[in-house]
């Protein structure tokens, strides 16, 4: 038996490494480096009900060991995704996660309805998006808002649902519990940290939207702590992420309670990072005499 294999929400995955939403396009862009079928799974670029052109101005900005992004969910909209991307994504040969965002509850529901009957493994509900009705405050900030969006989403979808939490929540553990109570099958965390950069020479914010999301190795220790806290508080499985750059980091997230992990920004720096991580996980199992890597989940 393969020591890296796991079952996540009834989906068999070859290993716990999933390409994170927004960093792996629709699964094909890294083919020159490796076949995506070696991964445990792929999470699609965040899809919204309507097509989006994304944000104006600078969209990525480096920081030491990380980056800020303000892509603005550029995507073809749910209908375009279903016709132009989903069929190909189904052939990637690993677990397929569809990441969904929205500006209003109605848009989430509309998109979920369109996804009914479509074949994929897990729906990842991205609730870091600003809620137009709450003056732009993200859906994931408050426990009661999380409960509402997740329960409504569950009612309108028969897919396994993993709720992607925002680390910017007023109380992260409360939002995680709210997601579980509302029927989430799993949670994933963390999305990016709200952050900013200022161009001091031009005396203006770097991003047109002023704030942007911080990701990459810079956030890893905080993300790890958050995954640990949430894993201790929940009964449903947790998928961890935030700055993972090596097999060792992935192992740390699993020890903190994550069943599987997502890997994002590091691939921009090293397109072969996921391959190295999978090799590293295998090596770790051999060194530690583990018959299943999953045995380390939550040992801390």
């Amino acid at each position: 038996m393969d020591r890296l294999k796991l079952d996540f929400l009834g989906v068999e995955m070859k290993n716990p490494i999933i390409a994170a939403s927004g960093t792996f396009g629709y699964g094909d862009d890294y083919r020159d480096f490796f076949d995506p079928s070696i991964l445990g799974g792929v999470s699609s670029k965040g899809i919204t009900f309507n097509a989006k052109d994304g944000n104006s101005g600078i969209r990525v900005y480096e920081t030491p060991a990380g980056l800020l992004n303000s892509i603005g969910l550029q995507n073809p909209g749910i209908a375009g995704f279903i016709t132009d991307y989903l069929p190909n994504m189904r052939k990637l040969g690993c677990a397929l996660i569809v990441n969904l965002g929205g500006d209003t509850m109605e848009q989430y529901i509309g998109a979920l309805e369109m996804l009914e009957g479509q074949e994929f493994d897990i729906l990842e509900l991205n609730i870091s998006c600003p809620n137009v009705k709450s003056g732009g405050m993200a859906f994931g900030m408050k426990a009661e808002d999380v409960f509402q969006i997740v329960s409504e989403s569950k009612k309108n979808s028969s897919h396994k649902m993993m709720v992607k939490l925002t680390p910017n929540a007023f109380n992260l553990v409360d939002t995680a519990i709210a997601a579980q109570e509302a029927g989430a099958d799993a949670v994933s965390l963390v999305n990016t940290f709200s952050a900013m950069a200022i161009d001091v020479n031009n005396k203006k914010a770097v991003f047109d939207n002023v704030y942007a999301g911080l990701s990459g190795p810079a956030i890893m220790p905080i993300a790890l702590r958050m995954v640990h806290q949430v894993s201790k508080a929940l009964d449903i499985p947790v998928c961890g992420m935030g700055g993972i750059s090596s097999a060792e980091d992935a192992i740390a997230f699993m020890m903190a309670g994550a069943r599987c992990v997502q890997v994002g920004s590091i691939i921009f720096r090293d397109p072969n990072a996921p391959v190295k991580m999978i090799e590293g996980l295998r090596l770790f199992c051999e060194q530690e005499g583990l018959t299943s890597l999953s045995d380390i989940v939550g040992i801390i």
């Binding site: 960093t23 862009d29 890294y30 480096f33 600078i58 969209r59 060991a65 990380g66 550029q74 691939i267």
Partner: protein, 233 residues
């Protein structure tokens, strides 16, 4: 890890870097390069156009702009663990059997050299290079060796010198220069522009470098960096 064969300064802040690589790039394609090795800062790699290539070497010419290119300039020759690169990436120039103008501004001249070489290797038609610099010139002698004619301007507008008879042209440089070129040449002319935009991944996965081209959002790294001039301006 990369094997650096040659690395030299060719103008006050411009460097030429020859690296072993068998990627067989096409003219107009680029690579992502970084000089921080195992370190994480700077985090992202920098896009640099192919200046020249043969089966197992690729050459870059770059200007020091900020931290990334500064660190790159400090890389020595030999096996260099700190230098990491991947490519070739993106879509390059398409040539036609027509007399062609190659119009570059500043470091925008860099990719045109390989373009002209490949054009001349495949077609018998004329290649004229128009090279505009704001101050110091560089690479001019190289262009002279492969072009039918090279026109250089320092400190002015290179577009003032471009022959309007060309029906096929290639341009790379500051956006206003490329736009001026596109407006200058006749409507029926087929022009290619090579765009520069901040990139995240360089392979099309992150949508950081999207621009509106031909009415839709396109990624400079994957759908470009070379686009049809009439679809951009």
């Amino acid at each position: 890890m990369a094997l650096v064969l040659e690395h030299e300064q060719i103008a006050s802040s411009v460097f030429r870097l020859l690296v072993k690589d068998s990627g067989n790039p096409k003219p107009g394609q680029f690579y992502m390069l970084g000089a921080s090795g195992e370190g994480m800062d700077p985090f992202l790699k920098r896009p640099l156009s192919v200046h020249d290539a043969n089966g197992d070497e690729v050459e870059f010419v770059y200007q020091i702009v900020g931290r990334g290119t500064k660190m790159l300039s400090e890389i020595q020759t030999g096996e260099q663990p700190a230098l990491e690169m991947f490519g070739p990436l993106g879509r390059g120039f398409e040539f036609a059997d027509e007399n062609s103008a190659f119009i570059g501004g500043g470091v925008g001249v860099v990719p045109l050299y390989y373009a002209i070489k490949e054009f001349k290797r495949n077609f018998g038609k004329k290649a004229v290079a128009y090279l505009g610099f704001s101050g110091e010139t560089f690479l001019v002698d190289r262009f002279k060796a492969v072009c039918d004619e090279v026109i250089v301007n320092v400190g002015g507008y290179i577009t003032d010198y471009v022959d309007r008879e060309f029906v096929q042209y290639y341009t790379c440089g500051p956006d206003p220069m490329m736009e001026a070129v596109a407006k200058l040449l006749p409507d029926g002319a087929k022009g290619y522009v090579s765009l520069e935009k901040r990139m995240g991944c360089g392979v099309g996965a992150c949508f950081a470098c999207s621009v509106r081209v031909d009415g839709k959002m396109q990624r400079v790294c994957k759908d470009g960096p070379v686009f049809l001039a009439k679809e951009v301006f």
